[in-house]
Subunit: 304 residues, 4 copies
């Protein structure tokens, strides 16, 4: 497969969408990102790296980071994790409180905001220094010790993130948040505020394409079965209320963020990351989804 | 892979679950099925057939049949189909009217009851004799011209299916059902009332594992891309409000019915069908889900 | 109180609203009503009748008729009625199915469509000929033996009332509709299709202003306590999702219909009816609500 | 009317209910209240005061206080108040977030928790020292300068009131809370933590029975029309999701609190307050509702 040619073809075909959509407005530090950025990177299990456009430029990974939190919480709690968070698609916007009320404080899945706040609460209870553990895990899987939190974004979200405070207090009232709400938000907003580029993102997800093992180093992260389970969650819940459409059009497990990044994996083959800050109506990168759809169409590969 | 050994191991391990759960009560003809039945069959693209237990005994396939209706409607309308039905998991029980109201009569996906009623409405508008077309399609893909509708089950559901009538009238009020409600229900209840066994079911789904082509005959049903899309819908929506859990535990696209049947496919490899009439709280076969989970665990295969 | 002067002042002040709003579109026979009609009538317990404008012109009373059905069902079942229908405001549109699903087929109150369908079901079970009983009750309370069903309107609604069929089938699935849905709809659509004028309407509601007794004849309809209860239901639930606003602005128990009629009572004093076919966003007569607000403002009377 | 005899009869008849129900558990300081308390007081516009039982014992008025906040906010903003809070019954539990989400941060009415938090936010924006203004208003209308906040209850609620924090942050995310959430909660929890007895409560509500004027002093609080509007809101929304039933059984505008108090007014006649700490399933005093139902039954008076 000539991935460089494919990336070039994608780059050309998505260009009319680049700059379209709306850059996330509710976080001031994100609203300032130029809308016409576009980057894409492919990292194979065999060690190849292919990229195009702004693939080496850092951006705020936002909800993509929920997969790191999920991986760490799943390692710590195993199947007991599912007593505190569900595994089903929500059928509702990412920050909805409705379902949470009907289901008594148990979020539908770990990839909506409420679910990730529960993950942060678990990491706080189980780890000495969760922020340190998270960033070190990201650095290790992405092979770059310089990756870090972007404190300007984090500070910006602390001021404007009323909805997340509401979710956390709400789950506190059901005893499904057990640490102080401010501490939980601090962990959550930190991992959302990690700054990375497409190559690093694609590479850091390779352990999920490799049955739980970091390919370069052979380091064990999760069992084969656990890696499968996280991929399944990404497929059913990774793109908010557009997850079904993404599975339908792209056919790969993936995770998006309002910073405009999306990462996907093809098990036993590769990781692929894309970045385009303009978002569609469900909060996912417009150009990014199109690029990944083209990727599976042009290569003829998908999990289905 | 020695599928016979694997089937035997599964058969033994699920035996404590056989007879557990509740046989569907709301359809009198189904309530009479002995709860301790269990059968399973594997059909590979290479033509192998393996089976165990009651795999040759007929049962009512119920919602499994929605995939046949979806395949035919998708062939007829192509992408225009999605103007009348969505592609997202519903996050609600299979016969809920709630979401339908908020979303103005457009069902979330074609595999919940409301969505399949829209499919039946489309088949009525597009085909001369939809019931004939459906049963002939099933006979062809299952390689058995004797497969037929079970009129006792169909008559039984007509009397008790008030909720489906409610759904159809409700969508009629949004102009998303366009034929007379009685006719739409007639088509829908007919395909739900098809009677088949596990071997036939597994075999009839092989075109979805084979990029849209019936393996034995080479007959084209759908394009590769369309087959992928149907598999994606099965993965995200195929087991009602237990779809996420099924993807998580089993990791295959599948479709269940309240008759206790579940079919799943492993693309490029095989189809697998299981039957156990005892249902869990979400309306899916208890023993069936466990058997499929064991199948992917023991074989080490899944799409993830 | 000089009611003629007051009516004249109201007539003038509401004139800018007459013709505004939308005439109910979903029932073809109603859509043809000229939007610029306006009539109002006051009938006192002492026997005075005052009216203005089109107060002697017949119109389709629609949901106003639910009070007649409620009165008859309450007389028949007494407090057992409340096992099948609630007494709380719904907080939802008049034909919503959402709450009905969460509350397992028990409508929130007898004045939303679902609740009135249950009333019709009860009348069918309890009476020989419910349609005859209803129309005779209306003729008696309104003192006009010529009042009748408008069969054109009824036929028109039978063809277009898909939502009401959906509600009835839905409650059938919870066993809260027990007669054939077609029969229930027939009773319901008949009483909605009664044709009356403002004077008759105001007069026919006087028994509710008179502690349950028809004033002219002294005939007992309900006990004082039962009349109070029906008035309370009108106040909290009589104008769909605008009931709170109506209580707030007008301060009288009342009931509206999509034909543009509204009736209200001032206990121990009078009944007042108004008709204006142009509806506001909640399905209530725009000019009608304004006229009643002016009525309580100008007279200084309300129940509060 | 011999109110002393009536109170004695009520006292006897409700005695089997006294001690029944559940004392509010979620506020530790309230959970300690002995469940077998019962008091009742009637204050007429003519200056009569009648009472029985524990009518002179202080208790935490909780949500009854929302009427004081509403009165002050309505005086300050007039009809502009209704841009920030609705007037409709909610059809949902008192602390629900569901409707708030569908209706974009505008609470259904000022008497559910969300609505009262908006009132507190308004008082904070409009007044120098809202807590001082509120307590002085209560002292004046109740004719007792010693009435005060119970700081133990307030401190207790601050620790456990996660749901109220969630509501406030949620509305902050819709810009319908504009002051810091901690400040808004501080005002809200203070007025909920006022400690009063039945006689004081009944007396302090007399201005609402007297068209807006404090009867003893003749001091103007609200216009006749405004007093009517607040009474209408109490009738439709004053007892949470039991408001319809209360209107139905009692037939008076009233307001309840989880401390077990309920106050009601009969316009142009009297105010009546009752206290019984045992709550029913909707959070209202079991004995209190029964006592008020007996009161209107025995006296034959209601607004209907």
């Amino acid at each position: 497969m000539n991935y460089d040619n494919i990336l070039r073809e994608i780059y050309e075909e998505v260009s009319p969408l680049v700059g379209k959509g709306k850059v996330a407005q509710y976080i001031p530090a994100l609203a300032a990102v130029p809308p016409d950025k576009f980057g894409m990177a492919i990292c194979t299990l065999g060690g190849e790296i292919h990229s195009i456009g702004d693939a080496k430029e850092n951006f705020s990974i936002q909800s993509v980071s929920k997969i790191y939190a999920l991986t760490l919480a799943f390692k710590l709690l195993g199947e007991k994790l599912w007593e505190r968070v569900g595994k089903e698609p929500s059928g509702n916007p990412f920050n909805s409180l409705v379902q949470l009320e009907y289901e008594r404080g148990i979020p539908r899945n770990p990839l909506i905001n409420a679910g990730s706040l529960v993950l942060a609460d678990i990491l706080l209870s189980e780890l000495q220094d969760p922020k340190k553990t998270i960033i070190e895990f990201v650095r290790k899987t992405a092979h770059n010790p310089a990756i870090n939190y972007d404190n300007a974004v984090i500070a910006s979200e602390k001021i404007t993130g009323h909805r997340n405070f509401a979710l956390a207090y709400f789950m506190h009232s059901f005893n499904n948040i057990r640490n102080p709400v401010d501490d939980v938000l601090d962990v959550y907003l930190h991992h959302c505020g990690i700054s990375m580029n497409c190559i690093e993102l694609a590479r850091s997800f390779l352990f999920l394409a490799n049955h739980g093992v970091i390919p370069d180093t052979g380091e064990y992260v999760l069992s084969k079965s656990e890696a499968k389970r996280i991929n399944a969650l990404m497929l059913t819940c990774g793109l908010y209320d557009e997850s079904g459409d993404f599975a339908f059009r792209v056919g790969l497990p993936g995770k998006s963020g309002v910073g405009g990044g999306i990462v996907a994996v093809l098990p036993e083959k590769l990781g692929v990351a894309v970045w385009g800050p303009g978002l569609g109506m469900y909060g996912n990168s417009l150009a990014g989804i199109k690029a990944l759809e083209l990727f599976t169409t042009l290569t003829g590969i998908s999990i289905f």
